[in-house]
Subunit: 196 residues, 4 copies
């Protein structure tokens, strides 16, 4: 572990231990380690570093989860804002069933708000017989049709709801609703998709 | 109150009353009304309708808030999805200091997800001396520069952070961070802004 | 509505309307009322009071729920604390199937923390054949056996889990887990139950 | 890491990576490791185990936090319930300023609900001049006076609010409100304190 991470984890172990009214000796006894090891963890000395399994054991002994003992996400914002210029976007081709289906361009993200995943999505396929549903995902989704037109299908794959949507249409999709888009009018379409 | 609303509020009063182990007579006594009035509320008969002040009194007597006694938002989704076509968008001109500053085009919204407020924003002003900060607002904001370029200012109005952002740039803005946009290059710019 | 409630609801309508970029005229038009009525609501004048049905309509027009437009619970705390003396406790007898089963003594509550419902429960029945399950309820529950001993049954009523618990035993029950207690050893038992 | 933990963390890395539309090669490139290492993590093979620093780097590369990539707390409940018998309680003496002040007896806890920390607290000190405030803590607190009487002080230590509370009194304390108890009437007092 890096020094800061050691220190932060050590502080969180100490605070949780105090909250559940356990002293260092009692925690050491539960984990079958010398009390000096617990002291080392809490001081963040790094002399006897905790790996993930060790941290899972500490969490169980303190009636909590690993997530409660690790640092909050790092803030990478500048006065509350994060910017991304177009040449910083990364792209990836999404294939389904061996066919290049979507190109995703990844827009600004931040560990401070991990549920925000904004994408520009180019829809490459216009054969709706080949549409593959995505199975849905956690989180809400907002979509705006930036260019072209799309055919949207959603819900039960065997008997989906459908809609044709022109440039400028906007869509809200609930968590875990499976959906798919294909292009209309013989040309690619472009969506802006914001997962949140 | 409409019949359904009466019934729903009545059910919620009954459930909360049972949860806090109060009988109808005790609730009536606290509110200084006949027990038949409490029975009427809970049955949703509408014979002695509750106005907001009355409901506030019931909420206080049951150690809760009005919000706990009124229905959840109506679901206006179709299998988890809501669509809005461009000709259904409403528009409004936002003026600041007597100058038309932004045109907002309001995209899809739903009471099921009230924090989602997506807008297409045309930025009409290019004189950054006239930029007026918005003071920030609750909720996160994602912005994508759809057309043109913008000058963004944010944070402390007396000494703001600034950035020039071309088409394709994307931005995350934390809750309550004051910000403003002006157009660059002598022509209007267009943003897609998603509050969530 | 009382004056303060009028004002608070009016402020919340104005703020929500601004957030969704709707002007007073647009809201009035959607609701088919004169714009002066909207102005009256927002000023909290009480000249044209909103009842619950009216407020539900306003909420729908603003893509939100009634709960978003009514005040937060009143704070009845003194520097963050609320006390209740024993002679302020109210009591109620809980009957199941025509038998007096529990006596509930209601301890301190506050609208600031409506999920907190602490009770002293006297268990009057010792015939476990007559035990009636409560069906479970929202919220977590912590129980401490203050006096006597109890037989606890929980889960599937047809084939419940069971345990005999002496004075000093402590129990955590998850939300919506149905459960019931009967006294052991031929005398009443007393529980402290904290729903949270 | 244990095999199960390896597998769980691997699955979570794969799911997050798919969500942010990054392929294994892109993640490997960002972290400057061979793609085979990323494959090893995701398969949970444990061949190249992740320590906490490594996991922090993976989290940053995927715009999230460590907590998002580690397992949820283990469920130690039996059909939604956890019991603790009195002889399983652990005890600890809490000292303040070199004086034994409280004896804490720790009641049932569960990683499934880590905010629940119930305690029986024996109050050993009756000299209110020696009362030491605890500084407050995260989480709500409910207290019931089981035996004896207590003098409670809370809020601003220099000018605290005070109350004398007999057996049977109940108290709600908001998060981060500093408080202290001393015994009254020349004998120890006993509290049941439920942090939640």
């Amino acid at each position: 572990m890096g020094a800061d991470l050691n220190t932060e984890v050590g502080n969180r172990i100490r605070q949780r231990r105090a909250l559940v009214k356990m002293d260092q000796a009692a925690l050491a006894s539960r984990l079958d380690v010398p009390v000096s090891v617990v002291q080392g963890w809490e001081s963040g000395s790094g002399a006897q570093p905790l790996d993930l399994t060790g941290l899972a054991d500490v969490a169980t002994a303190l009636s909590t989860s690993i997530a409660d003992l690790v640092p909050a996400p790092e803030d990478d914002l500048t006065d509350g804002v994060r910017l991304q210029l177009p040449d910083e976007d990364s792209s990836i081709v999404g294939s389904r069933g061996g066919v290049d289906y979507y190109v995703y361009r990844c827009l600004v993200r931040s560990p401070s708000v991990p549920m925000l995943i904004p994408l520009v999505v180019d829809v490459l396929v216009d054969d709706r017989e080949r549409a593959e549903f995505n199975g849905g995902h956690a989180g809400h989704e907002f979509i705006y049709v930036m260019e072209g037109s799309v055919h949207m299908q959603w819900g039960d794959e065997a008997a989906p709801k459908t809609a044709d949507l022109p440039t400028g249409a906007s869509i809200y999709i609930s968590p875990y609703v499976s959906h798919t888009f294909t292009a209309l009018d013989g040309r690619n379409a472009r969506l802006l998709a914001v997962n949140f």
